[in-house]
Symmetry: C2
Subunit: 115 residues, 2 copies
């Protein structure tokens, strides 16, 4: 799987100063379906999510124990995120994901960053 960068070659950054909301969605998945779920989320992001208003970034993670997939996604605002939830194409992708895994999506603000 290759990282998709935008034209400037930048990467998502994490900052408590940046006015974004962060979706952290952790999926529980059977190890033999982990790769399918990764591909499904990559396709959903590439075909639909990234074209929707307010999309900032999405980073798909696979757990080393093969039992989880996590999506760390940034949206411009809670309103943009909620509008995405109403989008029929996005709903179709989300329904396909929840057929192979149980999702635990939550919205967050970054409060403290340490390096």
């Amino acid at each position: 799987m290759v990282a998709q960068m935008n034209e400037e070659g930048t990467m998502p950054t994490i900052s408590a100063e940046r006015p974004v909301v962060t979706l952290i969605n952790v999926f529980d998945v059977e190890p033999e379906r982990q790769q399918d779920l990764v591909e499904l989320l990559v396709e959903a992001t590439d075909k639909t999510m990234r074209h929707l208003p307010g999309f900032v970034s999405a980073s798909i993670h696979q757990s080393l124990d093969a039992r989880r997939v996590a999506n760390y996604a940034q949206w411009r605002s809670t309103e943009d995120f909620k509008r995405m939830l109403q989008n029929p194409e996005a709903q179709d992708h989300m329904n396909r994901a929840t057929k192979v895994a149980s999702a635990e999506p939550n919205l967050y603000h970054v409060v403290s960053v340490h390096e």
Copy 2:
């Protein structure tokens, strides 16, 4: 809560190319304890974690519904992460956190980034 930046003022970045392991630890917490847990994790990171070998970054997130806190942390390697788990000071901080919240820590690799 103010973002802690390093001397160069950089921010954690997410990349599938970067050789780090990512800990995503989602804590379930009673809303009235959310702020305590955030402060506990900030203190643990500041006093102990960031001084340990292989620490790259930690970003503390609080959920908008007040029922979750998430730590998105990057370590140089799984070995460094496991060594941290054996550190008595780190164990002390983790024990204090699990007294106020249930933790769900998992290690990940970033597989795909979209902007």
